[in-house]
Subunit: 649 residues, 2 copies
């Protein structure tokens, strides 16, 4: 064999790739996609997204050797650290040993990430940073010579041993004090709030007592009351860790899907009491589930910190929210005084304190102050845009020194409501869709890898983007019925034109899963309202969206948005991928931070006080901005240069 011509390209080096656990081997040139190498080795990797690196189904583990990852979109830094690579996005750069995890492991990983991952401590925790304590104490027993009453005796001992001065006690504790002291043979454990109702330095108040020594844990709870979903994080204040996370739909949904319809419902008959009971029913069920997970009684939960929008907080406390809806849109109260749980019917210890975090205005509530704090945008120094996309889109713009906020009614479309086959992001929900631009055929990924039952918010964004990119809909969101003759997925349905995502025989319900023209209009309105909010917020302080260095996305839903898709439909501003940070439920996380740290609780208050509120409903540029955003991605295409560039490629 002759030596190769020195000027001809060097033949690519062959690399030996060894696939485990099936023990299949193949030799491929460097630069070969791992998915191709696997195919050559006779391994059938699933590529439902068509090898675009977007579904995460082809994840493999690089055990030995060198690869190059083009995209890690579906992988966490920890995944990459552990050797995970997406086969469709990774090239072979040398001899490799590659492990193909069982499909169910990948599914589990994808599913787990939908479920509550373990919450890391947001900062080093010190029990002394928060005001709830447990103390065990042994008292001198009474005698004819020392007839001090039980309560004074307990005070005396706690003052001597723990320096607790001016102690107070709840009536409920007094009622069992005599029995518990004697049952414990004068050794008891007390639960003490060190801060008073209105000042951090006491006097301390005893809110529970039990016989003997019980210092093993100290339970509290962080709560987020969303218009659509409620979240409960059970926290052990000994370690500061989140020990259980529970979530469910807000039971009020049956009485109206958005805050306005709830407010109207609350103003009629005993609607207010009913709505309060409904949300309390949901929260109490979640509390019960969390308590059961640790085999404790809910009475052992001694404190709740609650975040939520202003309407939700009013309804939670049983305060009529009607003025929130009426010009000039005034809340009764932005910062509730601390309450005792029994006063609202929250099923933690009846005298446990319920601390509702402060909000800013009727439509920028404690969910946003908590969210801003947990997003750490105040710490960043850089100009940040924070957005929590739920039933309302609430957003804040600013840095450490100033903050401005507004809210726009997005409607519940992104939460899976107001859309014919919409559903929440739980098992059976289509969470991502791919449409073949040639055939208009849809493939999708379903949470839990089940048969699909419906489509959730992130699925809808993905669907809208794919439909737009593939040409199923035009810039105005109109379904191209001209496709009808060629593509059976496009048709006239009961609600106007519709596109079939999943056929009846694929679905869990036995019905076609479709998206209708009305659904698309709802989605367009939602995304337009949010983008209009961004624009006005920036312009109101003389800036443009381009000035924002990072976009912090809160909300359980926001966590699963495909940024590329969201930019494609003009929901999120056109920025590099690394500018976006998905923070999950920042509201419950903010409540959690305020629960475990006095400093963070104070920080939420500071944010609520420093944040300027812009009322969009009277902003005369809002409808212009809204209408401009009622296109895909936007009337002003110059705002989305990356899409333009891609189109021109």
């Amino acid at each position: 064999m002759s030596s190769p011509h020195p000027l001809s390209p060097a033949p690519p080096l062959l690399c030996a790739v060894h696939f485990k656990p099936t023990d299949k081997r193949v030799e491929v040139p460097t630069g070969t996609l791992l998915s191709d190498a696997a195919q050559q080795a006779g391994i059938d990797l699933q590529l439902p997204c068509g090898g675009q690196g977007r579904c995460g189904r082809c994840a493999v583990i690089i055990e030995e050797g060198s690869v190059q990852r083009r995209s890690t979109q579906r992988l966490s830094p920890a995944d990459v650290e552990a050797g995970y690579a997406l086969a469709c996005q990774t090239t072979v750069e040398g001899d490799l040993v590659v492990s193909i995890p069982p499909q169910e492991k990948i599914e589990r990983r994808l599913k787990e990430s939908k479920r509550a991952a373990k919450v890391e401590l947001p900062f080093p925790y010190d029990i002394h940073d928060q005001p709830l304590r447990k103390y065990t104490i042994t008292l001198d027993s009474p005698s004819m010579q020392d007839q001090t009453d039980d309560w004074a005796r307990l005070c005396r001992a706690l003052e001597r041993r723990y320096n607790l001065e001016g102690l107070r006690i709840q009536l409920a504790v007094l009622k069992k004090l005599g029995r518990v002291l004697r049952e414990g043979e004068w050794t008891v454990t007390v639960v003490v709030e060190l801060d008073a109702w209105d000042r951090p330095d006491g006097p301390p108040c005893i809110i529970d007592i039990m016989p003997g020594e019980h210092l093993e844990n100290l339970w509290a709870v962080a709560i987020d009351i969303g218009t659509t979903s409620n979240h409960v994080w059970l926290v052990d204040l000994i370690s500061g860790e989140v020990m259980a996370q529970k979530a469910d739909y807000n039971g009020q949904i049956a009485r109206g899907e958005d805050v306005i319809s709830r407010i109207i419902y609350a103003s009629k008959g005993n609607g207010l009491e009913e709505l309060q009971q409904l949300v309390m029913g949901t929260l109490n069920r979640l509390l019960e589930e969390a308590a059961q997970e640790h085999a404790i009684s809910t009475d052992e939960i001694y404190k709740a910190v609650v975040a939520g929008n202003s309407t939700m907080i009013h309804l939670f406390a049983g305060i009529p929210p009607d003025t929130i809806r009426l010009m000039p849109f005034i809340t009764t109260v932005n910062e509730l005084p601390p309450l005792r749980a029994h006063a609202v019917g929250l099923n933690i210890n009846p005298v446990g304190r319920v601390d509702c975090l402060p909000g800013v205005a009727s439509y920028v509530g404690a969910d946003i102050t908590a969210g801003v704090v947990s997003s750490e945008m105040c710490k960043a120094g850089a100009l940040s845009l924070f957005v929590d996309i739920g039933t309302n889109g609430e957003m804040a713009l600013g840095d450490c020194t100033w903050l401005i906020s507004c809210a726009c009614s997005a409607g519940p479309a992104f939460e899976g409501a107001g859309v014919v086959h919409g559903m929440r992001a739980t098992a059976g929900a289509i969470e991502e869709v791919w449409i073949d631009p040639e055939t208009y055929e849809a493939t999708y990924r379903v949470i839990g890898n089940e048969k699909p039952r419906g489509i959730c918010g992130s699925g809808l964004i993905s669907l809208l983007a794919e439909m737009f990119v593939a040409g199923v809909i035009d810039k105005s969101g109109n379904i191209d019925l001209g496709l009808e003759t060629r593509v059976s997925r496009v048709r006239e349905g009961g609600h106007g034109a519709e596109y079939v995502i999943a056929w009846a025989d694929e679905s869990a319900t036995g019905e076609d899963i479709v998206i209708t023209a009305v659904d698309i209009d709802n989605l367009m309105r939602a995304k337009a309202a949010i983008y209009a909010g961004f624009s006005i917020l920036a312009r109101s302080v003389g800036l443009s969206l381009a000035d924002a260095e990072q976009v912090l996305i809160g909300g359980a839903f926001g966590q699963y948005i495909n940024v590329e898709n969201a930019i494609q439909i003009g929901l999120l501003p056109d920025k590099p991928f690394e500018s976006f940070h998905f923070l999950g439920n920042t509201s419950v996380r903010g409540a959690y931070m305020a629960l475990i740290s006095r400093e963070m609780r104070e920080h939420v208050k500071q944010v609520s006080e420093m944040m300027t509120y812009l009322e969009l409903s009277v902003d005369n540029t809002f409808f212009d901005e809204f209408n401009a955003a009622m296109f895909l991605p936007h009337t002003d295409e110059s705002l989305f240069p990356s899409l333009k560039a891609k189109e021109e490629q």
Copy 2:
């Protein structure tokens, strides 16, 4: 006619006595009893006590001229000032014009004194001496330019106008805040507690709000919870005056007559809840009656100060009292924290504060600390003996610088219970008895001048004394059945020997009203227990009862004791009449003083802290003292020199 012999006694001067309104005239010598003069004039004055100056039925008004009053026992200083004299105790000393009031006027006066007389302000009242306030305020109305929430808006206005800083608010008020502000078109009246739960200097807390200006009154209530009777004084804190007084039996009586039987009842099943509801039922009915008298709602009553013995306070608050009964006799709490009315079910404004005054020990409760304060014994400087005779006899000895107290179980005999025909001091109760020492016939006075239905505490003391003095019973209290053959009023009855006070045809019940040997034994035990308490208290500090300069008698019952009778039976120590001061219900009066004055509230606390408590049940001299006092008046007759002297007259 010859002139009189110069050495013969000068004939007494004749005085002209003109009786009005019958216009009868008579001339009598100076020194003639007015009752005799009336008889000579053909006027039939009633003298049911046989002219002993004890029944008050022969009261007349001296309009002109000079008289000498031997006794004014049944007259108040105001009566004497107004010219009243007891005809049987008053001698003619010159020409007179005497008005004989209609009998019904005398009856009314005697009856009224049984009813609640107007309570005088105990000291000059200044509304600023107590911490409840009403303020009227007009707020700037909200606008799109000023979207401050309602609560912050109210705070801002109250801080500017009234310097109220760090304001707090009750959830119940927040619930109506939005509506009331708008109903009042931004002018509202707020009710504010200036003192915090635990300190006098705030922060202030809004406990009610109403549209418009309503400064005309500010209602509060002083409450005494006796084992037998409950008392409610409705107070207007604008003037500080008692506007209504209501009293009734404690509804708990049906579940046991003394504290011990109540404690036992409370320890079984839901006995505690039942007893709490029973007393609350009584109090709430009295509150309702008082409110109706002024056409107000009980929700307009914003504060309650409560006195009562330790068991009553425990039951009122729903705290198990069982340790009070068991060695070493420990209360759960001597000083309750302030409560909100809804927490105990007291029917004033649900968030109105309920301040239970502090007690000293299991058997010296807040009724005694309140009583000591209202008796002003601490102010006297002189050594004083304070006693509150109710179901228990509680007493304190001391001066400004020290106080020692004890309690003895007198049983409910003096409250009309535990005695076959005993009843409370209401209409139809025999309140005083006279027995003719010759015929053993009884005459009596009935409250309300009705037919008798039974006999109340003061009547029982009077009866016991008269029976003893007349010889119906001996020193040991045994009925002399030897009289049976001569006197039909003495007989063997169903409960052993008995004496008939009123025959069936005189009584309202159609039955003979009798006192039995068992009743007498109960009365003897009660009086012996109390006297033993006095003796031990004095001896414990190295003094004798003779050293006490004044005896302050509290308790609604104490008010009507005939001192002479009470000394005759050895219930009260043998002292001059002027040493005794009858103060009425010192417990409710102390609660009233604490309600209208911060200083007095503080004083009650000081008394509770400085008062030493002597536990009689473990005093090994108690039974000796008790047995020594189980005679009439006492085994040691030298303790009752005045009786000895009278006997020897």
